[in-house]
């Protein structure tokens, strides 16, 4: 589904990603882990084609086609959904408008506004509210629902559990599980290790812009040394 090979990304002259690679298979949830400032968001932004950062070397292929260098809207239209860090909803749009303003990239999974409201009943109740009038959990639901509107094959989620109450984090884990069951591939950036392990098939750990460890979610639970070393978990 997604292959990232040896990419080097820069913010100005600051070299942030030093040859990072990862891959997400069809229908798989890959958790991208690492401490703050290790380049997780930079990697997500590099895949999405959002600038900055600038990607100066490497290759990114999505569904077999090279996408590195394409503008973000063309990458999205190929079926890549994006849940940015901090939600980044549109304060002047209502909940409904967040969904209707986007047009579908394809109809493979048939995500419509009606289906999104069925999936997130809480959003349906709040359909006339504006993005900045929602609770933290509702905002995250809307950010996910919005990403679904382009009918993606893969969703990039940048720290969706950030700032959510534990009960909402659990709810979010349930949603990610349902999306996976519906056939979506997901690349999930997480600070919260246990939340990531609850939903991920595999994990990739970033350390100062390099991939330093890859394992299945089941394996990594039994590797306390790795967790301590790269994630500071004791």
């Amino acid at each position: 589904m997604l292959e990232v090979r040896d990419i080097h990304s820069y913010y100005g002259e600051a070299h942030v990603l030093h040859g990072a690679s990862l891959s997400v298979a069809k229908g798989e949830v890959l958790a991208l882990l690492g401490r703050n400032g290790m380049g997780k968001t930079t990697l997500i932004r590099s895949i999405m084609g959002v600038s900055p950062p600038n990607v100066r070397a490497g290759a990114i292929t999505f569904k077999g086609e090279a996408i590195l260098g394409l503008p973000p809207h063309l990458i999205a239209q190929r079926g890549m959904g994006y849940v940015p860090q901090g939600r980044r909803l549109f304060p002047s749009l209502t909940v409904t408008e967040h969904l209707t303003v986007l047009k579908p990239a394809s109809a493979t999974h048939g995500w419509t506004v009606a289906k999104a409201f069925e999936f997130f009943p809480r959003l349906a109740e709040r359909r006339y509210h504006r993005g900045n009038q929602l609770s933290g959990g509702e905002r995250q639901m809307l950010a996910v629902a919005r990403a679904l509107m382009i009918d993606p094959d893969l969703i990039l989620m940048d720290e969706p559990s950030e700032g959510l109450a534990p009960v909402m984090v659990q709810h979010l884990e349930g949603i990610i599980g349902q999306l996976k069951a519906a056939g979506l591939s997901i690349l999930l950036v997480e600070q919260n290790l246990y939340s990531a392990l609850a939903v991920a098939d595999r994990v990739t750990i970033l350390e100062t812009g390099r991939v330093v460890h890859e394992a299945t979610a089941a394996e990594i639970g039994d590797q306390p040394e790795t967790l301590t070393r790269f994630l500071g978990v004791h």
Binding site: G49, H73, A76, P84, F90, E97
Partner: protein
């Protein structure tokens, strides 16, 4: 005395309506593209001259208006795609570039039309005065007032009730995110720029029939438009309407009651508003 006051009130309102038409285009471009388009005044004047030339030759005011809007929209297209695209994201360069384009356009119009004063010929049914409430008032100015209200309604519906409007608002809020969600925001930007330019052209055509056209009219309308947008808050349609009303009324009050301080009456309150609301009355942080 009271009829005199009503007359002045209407003058202020009609001037506000014209200011709104011009400033709504300015605020759209400023709000969405973050470009302070200092060529907006020159686009206004260009629209005025186009309307004058077309309306005089064809004898149709409507043709003049449509030609002005089309010509200025195309000028906006050339300005955006031919020049502004090379300085995207550099606000100071955009300001200097549009200032330069404004000066060049102004000089070119001086070459073509000379320094004489022109008036766009208004159609016959809008000439003369209407008698109501015990006074006579020029029909044409009432037409401008109605047009200003109509443009406000049309823009409001466009921005709030259509998908294009939702796209424009999303682009104002967060252009990076809307692009990452599959929208070619550059195309929306260009459409908005052309729409904003067309509104300047419309303003020139309409204003050219009662304020007259002359070589420095561009700078005057630009300063007023800046005041409207600064008071109202960038990118806000309601802000532009309220700002235009304030500037239009203050301008009239200033000219009638404090002619020595006519500019101060406008820009004094503007400075006071900025001191307490730096983003304008209806402005929001990006």
């Amino acid at each position: 005395m009271s009829s005199l006051n009503t007359f002045q009130l209407l003058n202020g309102l009609t001037f506000a309506a014209l200011l709104f038409i011009v400033a709504s285009g300015f605020t759209l471009i400023f709000g969405l593209l973050r470009i302070v388009n200092l060529a907006h005044g020159a686009l206004y004047l260009l629209g005025g001259y186009c309307a004058y030339a077309m309306a005089s030759t064809t004898g149709s005011f409507m043709v003049g208006i449509l030609a002005a809007m089309a010509a200025v929209a195309v000028t906006g297209l050339i300005l955006d795609q031919g020049l502004l695209r090379f300085v995207r994201g550099h606000e100071l360069r955009q300001v200097l570039l549009t200032l330069g384009v404004g000066l060049v356009l102004n000089d070119m119009m001086l070459v073509v039309f000379g320094g004489d004063t022109y008036t766009v010929p208004a159609p016959e049914f809008l000439q003369g005065a209407l008698r109501f409430a015990g006074m006579f008032y020029p029909k044409y100015r009432l037409f401008v007032l109605a047009l200003g209200v109509l443009i406000f309604i049309l823009l409001w519906v466009l921005l709030n009730k259509t998908r294009l409007g939702a796209l424009i608002r999303a682009g104002v809020d967060d252009p990076e995110t809307i692009a990452a969600l599959g929208i070619n925001i550059r195309r929306i930007f260009l459409l908005t720029f052309m729409l904003g330019a067309a509104l300047a052209g419309l303003g020139g055509a309409v204003g050219g029939a009662f304020l007259t056209l002359y070589p420095s009219a561009d700078a005057e309308i630009l300063v007023f438009s800046l005041a409207v947008v600064i008071i109202g808050g960038r990118g806000s349609l309601v802000g532009a309407a309220v700002g235009a009303l304030m500037v239009g009324m203050l301008n009239t009050v200033g000219q009638v009651m404090f002619p020595e301080f006519a500019y101060f009456v406008i820009f004094g309150p503007m400075a006071a508003i900025l001191a307490f609301r730096p983003l304008g009355l209806f402005g929001r942080t990006a």
